[in-house]
């Protein structure tokens, strides 16, 4: 794509609507929601893009008393190089993208935990998830699984509305790459398979359908493994970015059933809204407090509200720094937005492992 690199004296720079700047304490980012990437930028460039939006280059340079002409030229070269914006004479013709988030589903995603002692009625659970409009499910098997056990779970969802099933299961001798590939081909809702507690790490090439299968050595043997905050979990796209503006990026529209059948916001939380054998998912969802945590967005959370990554990072309210403060930072996040450094994973002080009550 070729862009005019040399603006006329009256040209003004306009970011593409899908390129949204987000300010942090020490640095900022531009999130390219269309290309699903993000770029770190200085806070000075954020200031130019926001407070001096619509100004000509000459006006911008004059606003900084011509002390940073070189830096300003480099900024615009950077933006053009990464195709984040363009020169134009009428930036007012290019409105900002609408970040309103709405979805008709009462529940968009769910976690279903399974261990050796679980006694789930998978058919009933999946029918209820269908009623709620759930699109994405993650099944976490903490124990070593056999193929038939996995197949039984997937069979229960064969005629449902789920669009994707992420499967996390403990390694067993039957879960060979060939068997898992055959499983993914038979059950097309599977989007991803991760086998934990495997003898060796292995990442298979994506299947032609896009499904990924990987083996990891670390064990995922309880909900306590969850809540990890790191760059591998960043997601940049319009849907999740918009949702993060006003909602909790993890818990919003989520329902979970832990290994004992307890219905919760998240299996790592203490508060149960009933057991799935006795209470319907709809009934749990209707309880007043079930949605209490859905509206806690990153702008309300200490430290996170100053982090440039806050809209692409998925929050965690289950494991937080200060058990007494519902709005404290996730305990498993080691990023410091005030220095822009990832510190070594500290022992989370007061990690609220028993969950948070709204």
């Amino acid at each position: 794509m070729s862009l005019e690199p040399t603006p006329s004296r009256e040209s003004r720079f306009s970011l593409f609507a899908c390129c949204v700047p987000v300010q942090g304490a020490r640095r900022s980012v531009i999130c390219d929601l269309q290309r699903q990437t993000f770029h770190f930028i200085p806070n000075g460039l954020y200031e130019i893009l926001t407070e001096h939006a619509g100004a000509t280059v000459a006006e911008i340079k004059a606003a900084y008393d011509h002390e940073y002409d070189l830096e300003i030229d480099e900024y615009f070269a950077f933006l053009l190089e990464h195709e984040l914006g363009f020169w134009c004479d009428d930036p007012q013709r290019f409105p900002a993208i609408d970040l309103t988030w709405e979805t008709p589903e009462r529940i968009t995603n769910a976690i279903l935990d399974v261990d050796e002692r679980s006694d789930h009625d998978f058919g009933s659970i999946f029918r209820q998830l269908d009623d709620l409009g759930c699109k994405a499910l993650e099944v976490r098997c903490f124990h070593r699984c056999g193929l038939e056990e996995v197949r039984r779970i997937l069979e229960a969802a064969r005629y449902g509305r789920l669009r994707s099933i992420d499967l996390l299961a403990g390694h067993g001798p039957e879960l060979t790459p060939e068997a898992l590939a055959a499983l993914a081909n038979e059950y097309r809702r599977i989007s991803r398979i991760v086998i934990h507690s495997a003898p060796e790490r292995r990442q298979l090439p994506p299947l032609p359908t896009g499904v990924t299968i990987e083996y990891r050595t670390a064990a995922v043997d309880s909900p306590a493994c969850c809540g990890k905050i790191h760059a591998g979990y960043f997601v940049v796209n319009l849907e999740t970015f918009a949702e993060a503006q006003q909602h909790n990026s993890c818990l919003n529209r989520k329902i979970s059933i832990d290994a004992r059948g307890e219905i919760k916001n998240c299996p790592s939380m203490a508060r149960s809204f009933g057991n799935a054998r006795e209470v319907s998912l709809h009934g749990a969802l209707a309880q007043r407090d079930f949605t209490a945590l859905w509206s806690i967005n990153k702008d309300q959370i200490d430290v996170c509200k100053d982090c440039e990554l806050r809209y692409i990072c998925t929050d965690c309210r289950a494991y937080i720094r200060d058990a007494a403060d519902l709005y404290s930072k996730p305990s498993k996040c080691s990023y410091d937005p005030y220095t822009a450094e990832w510190t070594s994973p500290a022992e989370p002080a007061g990690a609220f492992r028993k969950g948070v009550s709204p």
Partner: protein, 53 residues
């Protein structure tokens, strides 16, 4: 308010290397049908992916 303007080439603004950021969500999952690259090559090389390089 005018800030001090840092150079865009500074260390803070460099993207992380692939080694520093291991992708967790490596799948190209979408809510629409996944499609397959169609080429004149009847045997495209599907054996390579980013994590193997």
């Amino acid at each position: 308010m005018k800030k001090k303007l840092e150079r865009i080439g500074g260390e803070l603004f460099k993207p992380l290397t692939a080694a520093e950021q291991k992708r967790i969500t490596a799948g190209f999952t979408t809510t629409t049908a996944t499609t397959i690259f169609e080429t004149a090559n009847p045997n495209p090389d599907f054996s390579r992916d980013g994590d193997r390089e």
